[in-house]
Symmetry: C5
Subunit: 295 residues, 5 copies
């Protein structure tokens, strides 16, 4: 997540430098060409209406990308809520809230949050060194393919043990199972966003459209002298390219990039909340931001 800090100008310009270079090249070419071919001059109204059209389609695209980004954040918000609820329910429903099993489940929940974040980012999860899991569980997880799903599987098994050992009554088991069910749904929703690429033809058409617009505009402005036309085109193109890149970045919020949903930081918040609910003393600090963004 980009923070309310100073963003390096290089970070922003780096995203559109190639596009700007292309604009400089073809606007120069147009400027030179038009001296020879008077007929190439097309009405400025054409360039202008194409600009309005592209702004329109770009706005809708940006809005759809924003919705994906915001949905991703909502999903992780739901994970925060359900993690807190899960521990509250375990603690207060159980007849023996201090039992090792309750604590093991609470710790596994912290592990699940970190593991889900890493899994979505395509990072390798090293369960063998996971500080939140017991040794036996670490070993058993080694051969599992989908670690977060395996952790939910273990949650579910432990929940059954609590019920069988009569620490939870029938109602309470089902009520906690509903919380697990929501966690499972949140995991699936995040994977849906991760695994569904925004329709590529849509995105390509938009990119093509921006170039058609800029080329038309450069032919519309040939009556201006070159040293005006070229910077003019560059300035006009900057916000269009920037908005396109922003849309492209925020639509995929689980890619290990600065614009990501701040999953590691959220997992740390959950860890802090759970440890507090377990009445621990040593609660780790919130995650520190890296320069201008939060991981």
């Amino acid at each position: 997540m980009i923070l309310e800090r100073k963003i390096p100008i290089g970070y922003i310009l780096g995203k559109i430098k190639i596009d700007l270079l292309v604009v400089v090249v073809f606007s120069t070419a147009t400027s030179l060409l038009s001296s020879y071919l008077q007929d190439l001059n097309i009405p400025v109204t054409i360039g202008a209406f194409l600009g309005t059209a592209i702004a329109l389609i770009l706005s809708f695209k940006l809005s759809q990308s924003y919705d994906r980004w915001w949905e991703a954040r909502k999903i992780w918000g739901a994970i925060v809520n359900d993690s807190r609820t899960f521990v509250l329910q375990l603690k207060h429903f159980s007849k023996n809230p201090e039992s090792a099993l309750i604590s093991r489940m609470a710790y596994r929940q912290m592990s699940w949050c970190y593991a889900l974040g890493a899994n979505l980012r395509g990072l390798k999860i090293n369960t063998e060194e996971d500080p939140f899991l017991e040794e036996l569980e670490r070993q058993l997880l080694k051969d599992r393919i989908h670690i977060p799903l395996a952790l939910l599987d273990n949650h579910s098994a432990d929940l059954n043990t609590l019920h069988r050992e009569d620490q939870l009554n029938d109602f309470q088991q089902v009520q906690i199972d509903s919380t697990l069910l929501r966690l499972c749904a949140s995991m699936g929703k995040a994977e849906r966003i991760k695994n569904t690429s925004f329709p590529k033809t849509y995105r390509l058409t938009l990119h093509l459209f921006i170039y058609i617009f800029l080329v038309m505009l450069s032919f519309s402005l040939t009556e201006l002298t070159g040293f005006i036309e070229i910077p003019l085109l560059v300035f006009i193109s900057v916000p269009f390219f920037l908005l396109e890149k922003i849309a492209l970045n925020i639509q995929d919020p689980f890619e290990n990039r600065p614009t990501d949903t701040a999953m590691t930081s959220i997992a740390r918040t959950i860890e802090r909340n759970i440890r507090e609910l377990l009445k621990e003393e040593d609660i780790p600090e919130p995650l520190k931001p890296e320069k201008f963004y939060m991981q």
Copy 2:
């Protein structure tokens, strides 16, 4: 689902080649005609504002089509979540998680996902060779009209057996029934998208509007020489036709086309997850993409 791979240019142009041909024909006609009839020249502002108007209406249409496409993906995401939850609940609620009945239900769930995908695509479902079902069930399904509904019927019957045999308590039966209920709702939602065509008059009006715009624009540009006007019109029309076709394609995501929701691939993911939860050893690979899309 179109992947983030190289899309053959022929695939894209193939969708709009007829429309582009029509544009070439009438812009040539306009160009020739205008030499004779000076009066046909209409202000370029008319063409321009029509272009803005059409971009606007097209954007809304695209947004509505995108919503259908995204809703379809959400429905299949919910199927992933509820399939996982279904197996987790069966496994951990039951007093005898290794029973043949539990395993039969888990396998039937895999079958249901593939069958629902095929049903939505209008493909014939050959239940007699379904590798996930037992021989008896295969035979009984032969005469059923709506296979996925029949499979849910069998799920529901088996759930009742588990309850009658006291493997599930009253609460657990109702909790798993709620999961079946959500699967039934997801099936119905996907069928709703499949069976409800986007208002055809709306779509036709939009298509008509694009042509009115292009014709007006061609009459607005008659002061340009033909060899400029014709490519100009073609270039301007390309993004409009492309966006219209994209809207048309993504609004119907269950048609056995490259832009479909990747139902077969999702069903394979569910198969892999369920097999892992059943602690099987031989887990099939994820589905491989076909060229630039995933089925």
Copy 3:
């Protein structure tokens, strides 16, 4: 629901013929008038920006109408899902699934779907000849005002009987009651759309705005000769009027019109599904479309 079939051109033009006539009349008048009064000539930019503005407001209106139409379809989709779930639950929860009571309730559910459709369309419901109800129930329904609500009342009474006769346990009664509750909510949601007219002043202002735009445009185009101006205005006005009429039609989807939600066809689907779940042999065919639409 309009199908993906050939729509008679007369059906479409019939909706806007009066508006087009008015446009012909006043554009002719403007054309004649402007020969005498040179001062009436206003800049074409005025007409153009009004066109953009009207396209904008029309798009939002169309989007709101589309949302009503799509919500109506979603409601009937939910009715499909809950009807299937209702019969599945009755069949598999009950200790005596073959009982006459279960079958009576399943048949009443088919009746409810047809009755709700007819009620929304304002058609008279002849309960005395309802093939899905028993003779006694037919008689008792004669004096009821709100037939679908009365049918739910009977559902609820029968559900209570099943519980009292110990065919359903406490959990199962409440679980099926939740299904009835959702059916009751779907009925109320459809009635809400039916009984809430779209803000009329909004619609009238939009209609007025289209005319102000066309009049302004006709005064902007007086420098063109009449035989160009008149068809030009007519062509430009066609998509605007068509989109307005489409919005008007789809916003009220329960009016016994071709653009209606296909309630009769959906009720037939439900009938077919329920009969299949009851293992009947003679399952009626799906509803045939009427020309270009489905009732």
Copy 4:
């Protein structure tokens, strides 16, 4: 709710007459002024693009206002559904459906609907003459501040009595409690809309923007003679002001105005439905509309 009837033109024009007067005044002033100061003439494109911009922002504002209006109607639709469900559940869950307590609760539900409507409209509720309540309850309500909440409090107490007297089992009490909970949520949602004013600075900026646009436009049109410019400006301004006023009216749907959600009429519908479910003979007629709107 404005009905599909003839709306008095005075009602509509009354809303914008002051704004129109201001437009006449300043367009006359501009017209006179421009004869003296040639320099005041600004390009018509400026006025036109401002008009497009204002149409855009107005459309979004209108869409947000419409969403509030539609949400208000949805809330009252939910109240209809939950009122019906509440009575159905009471009637069919209870072991003694004819008991006075059940009937008292059903009558209180009618009272609650009328009281909530009046409360939202800021009208005084005279509980002492409430025909739906028993004498004792009327007296007890006299000192309560929030009448609808007090009625829910009594509902909840009576529900507890039914449970204590063993007329409802544990499941049924909780199931009906969930219905009360939804009614309580609907009440709170309606109060949220009532008590949250639309951001006033947003609204004022929009109003200011319309005036800036019209002033710019009047300066753009100074080359037209005054007797054209003044009516032209008035005509162009009419739809903008009307749309602004419509947005303003529908965004606050509980203000005792013609554009209100038809709460009294909906409460009457609920009364009719409940009386029918209670098998009463004398069911009151639906509410008659007042001229062009329904209260």
Copy 5:
């Protein structure tokens, strides 16, 4: 929340005075410059289409900011509903509604609402002087980091006590637990809005775009004399800057600013409702607004 009262003009202009100053400076510069460099004059259509584009993107941004603001208000509306429901359930489920434990929980709920509001605004919570909590609880809360979560923890513990002491049956405990679960979710949702900054690059690009538009416009208007151009630019820029600032303000509704969600006032409403449900006599007045806004 800004009220429907007179807003000091200084409050509004204060937000955009720096931006307006910048506009005055560069439009003066442009005006002077253009006398020397005739070539700098660019077509007014360029400025106009950029204005339309920026209005478009601004509208979408405003709509997204409005959605955050409205979601924040919805969350607090849900807190009102669940607080009322919580007390109703405690009062009427419990076998001993007058017990000190019930009253302690009701008071803690008032405390929770104020504490959550203060926490979201980043204010220090002084639990030691909290008038709603008992002395012991005040002391125990001193070392807790997340006060509202700690209060929910205590709620949950007390709920368990009620169940263990047999004041609530199994069903009722789970039903009230669901209410707590929703309160926990509302808390998390508000924190999500608080902790997720709107994509900063998006906002910066928009700001940059407004400036590019105004600079282009100033170069488009150089044919006007300076004393017209400068106020013209200022007037045109006012609504754009105002709308941008409004979007910026309403997107972060928990910042101790006049545009905040009126959390203190809502918490007071909840306090009044709960006290009335507890049948107290001395009910505090609703919160008084501060000048033109409600805290």
